[in-house]
């Protein structure tokens, strides 16, 4: 997950940041964790979205789209 995030251009994230974020998401009931055997050694912890997490993601995506749309209106001067 850290490797994936580090590949995203423009996103500056420290490797350690992911753990408290995931812990918060778990505390808020948005993701759950589970362990599974990995190909290169001891089993690893994996995460998946809960039903609540899916809904939150949909809401946040909609919110994010709204922000982008609003900014585009401002940039193009079409806000009136």
């Amino acid at each position: 997950m850290v490797q994936t995030l580090k590949k995203i251009q423009g996103l500056k994230i420290r490797e350690g940041n992911i753990y408290p974020i995931l812990a918060r998401l778990q505390t808020d009931g948005l993701v759950t964790s589970y362990s599974e055997a990995s190909r290169d050694g001891p089993p690893r912890k994996s995460f998946k979205l809960t039903e609540l997490g899916e809904k939150k993601l949909t809401d946040m995506n909609a919110h994010w789209d709204q922000i982008i749309e609003s900014i585009q209106h401002i940039r193009k001067g079409t806000y009136e």
Partner: protein
């Protein structure tokens, strides 16, 4: 322990101490889990270093990449998050959710590709599988990658961690991946172990044990452990049954070097069965 290992342990311990101190004022019930995850992450980063890369500069770079200890408290404590940096952290929360979806989809796709749409390939691979395994096991201490390919054919891929490699450019340690989640772990051109990580190949080990066998059955066949440890960290000690590792119910580990085998369990059933070379664990 080498002097490099001692230096690393010292840096790691100091960083974890700072994180623990930063988290001391946070009330989130998962702060212990965060600390354990950070510790595991650091251990993994150290394991990825080749011996000639084990320098103080590289150790320091790993610690720096983790970020300042104060970040953990800010990110874990919602009030601090809202008070200190609302916009970037909400953005990170969104990114976190999005990444879980991306990775979840990737895992589902991988499963779908490796386990379902390739029945012909798997069926072909399963043909004479026990005989092929017996052949590699009889030469496991001297066999090479070429022997593996001669017996099992060209693999699906070569991986280590999250990286995929070409045959002409393999690292010091890598895993050769075949259909049905059968793998061969190779280090320094030697086979370390062959790994059965799914039921797809239909492989049956001694005494009828296979991926999916219950823990009790494994103990009946391989013998009782010298010690059973419950709820603790897995230290991979031979003959010790690690049960409910770090509090995760059903997640267990049991190795029997005398029988050249290691088991991982999920829900108290074998999730992975590793057959090791004869000198496995020596010099650890």
């Amino acid at each position: 322990m080498t002097s490099e290992s001692k230096t690393w342990e010292s840096l790691k311990t100091e960083y974890l101490r700072q994180v623990e101190k930063a988290l001391s004022s946070v009330e989130n019930p998962r702060k212990k889990e965060v600390l354990e995850d950070v510790c595991s992450h650091l251990d993994r980063r150290f394991d990825e270093l080749e011996p000639d890369q084990q320098t103080w500069e590289n150790f320091q770079a790993i610690i720096t990449e983790m970020g300042p200890a104060s970040d953990y408290a800010e990110l874990l404590e919602p009030d601090a998050v809202q008070r200190v940096r609302p916009v970037p952290l909400n953005y990170l929360l969104w990114i976190g959710l999005a990444v879980v979806v991306i990775i979840g989809t990737a895992i589902l796709l991988t499963w779908a590709i490796s386990d379902k749409p390739q029945p012909v390939i798997l069926e072909e691979f399963r043909r004479d599988f026990p005989e092929k395994v017996a052949k590699i096991k009889s030469n496991i201490d001297i066999a090479s990658l070429e022997d593996v390919i001669r017996i099992f054919g060209e693999p699906v891929e070569y991986i280590w961690g999250n990286q995929t490699f070409q045959k002409k450019n393999l690292p010091r340690r890598y895993v050769v991946v075949y259909p049905g989640r059968f793998c061969v772990f190779i280090s320094e051109d030697k086979i370390v172990e062959i790994r059965h990580e799914g039921p797809g190949t239909g492989y049956v080990w001694k005494g009828g044990l296979h991926v999916g066998s219950p823990l009790e059955e494994v103990l009946e066949v391989t013998g009782q452990p010298t010690e059973a440890v419950e709820g603790q960290k897995n230290l991979f000690e031979d003959g010790v049954l690690y049960k409910d590792i770090e509090g995760t119910k059903g997640y267990c580990y049991y190795a029997r070097v005398d029988q050249n085998v290691r088991f991982f369990f999920w829900n108290y059933k074998v999730s992975a069965l590793y057959e090791t070379r004869s000198d496995y664990g020596e010099g650890r």
